[in-house]
Amino acid sequence: MIKRLTLLLLLAGIGSLFAGLVLTYVPDETLNLTASYYAERTAEDLGAANIVTAIIVTYRGLDTLGEVTVLFLTAAIVGLVLSHTRGRSQSTGRAQDNTASEDGVTPTPATRRELPPTGELLTTGTRLLLPLILLFGAYVFSHGHLTPGGGFQGGAILASAMLLLLLSNPARRFGHRLITIVESTAGVAFVLIGILGILLAGGFLDNRILPTGTFGELFSAGAIPLIYTLVGLKVGAEFSSMLVSLSETEEL
């Protein structure tokens, strides 16, 4: 009874809090000081058509570096935890394989368990869609300074292509090595571009180390397309490594 009463009181409190927020909300008529600075100066200073991207990559580039680091740590921890379980499962799996071969069943080391067939629709659909999804992901992160989207979105799209590949053929093995190389190279290059910004332009991650070019063209906005391509590759590699680690633990 008291529990229910407390719950109701809590709900009423939260409700009144939100009601106060909604009822007193007045939309801003003009942009505030920071926003108007970004809105007015971005195209002129940085040559980026997409102001959101200009803020994420250049004005607040350090925060993006932090986000990428957090994602990297997550991928590393997922890999660490799952590789532990994988090592243990491989030793037990081998023992089970031995018992299976004694029973006269031929053991298959790669996939001990018989996986169900994935179906014609998924296999053919994957074959058709995979290049298109990869192309779309590359488009999203290379056009981050012109259209909505960017490195994180493009990387997630790349990872979804990877996911489709894993779904259509769960027994497929991917080289962790390639993923690791792509990921670390992109990360190091991102930081190097940032340091070049200190040496050649206004500060860390300044995009004007390259000419800003013509407004609205693909090769414009200085280093923004370069940085976002690196971020896209890095994010895509991180998500892919997580998916691959997850799918590899399946073969217990």
Partner: protein, 84 residues
């Protein structure tokens, strides 16, 4: 001006209903996961209405795509563990 607001309210209502359905999970866990993914998809439409296409893309790719896959994956593993 009023059309986006009406659409947004409708979306918000649908999201609340779907989220409650997903939480109660009357039918099965799989349907709950699908409903949660649907809430993510509607949230991305909502972000689009609020003029934030960048966030909408992230939400669609991660919130309704990869997360749903992850839930199904773990669900499958848990079920398989029960059978063994």
């Amino acid at each position: 001006m009023t059309l986006p607001i009406a659409l947004g309210l409708l979306l918000a209502l649908a999201m609340v209903v779907l989220a409650v359905m997903a939480m109660r999970g009357r039918r099965s866990l799989g349907i709950s996961i699908l409903l949660a993914g649907l809430v993510g998809l509607l949230a991305s439409v909502m972000f689009l209405l609020l003029a934030a296409p960048d966030v909408a893309m992230t939400e669609a790719a991660i919130g309704s795509g990869l997360t749903t896959f992850l839930f199904f994956f773990v669900l499958g593993r848990v079920r398989r563990g029960e059978h063994d």
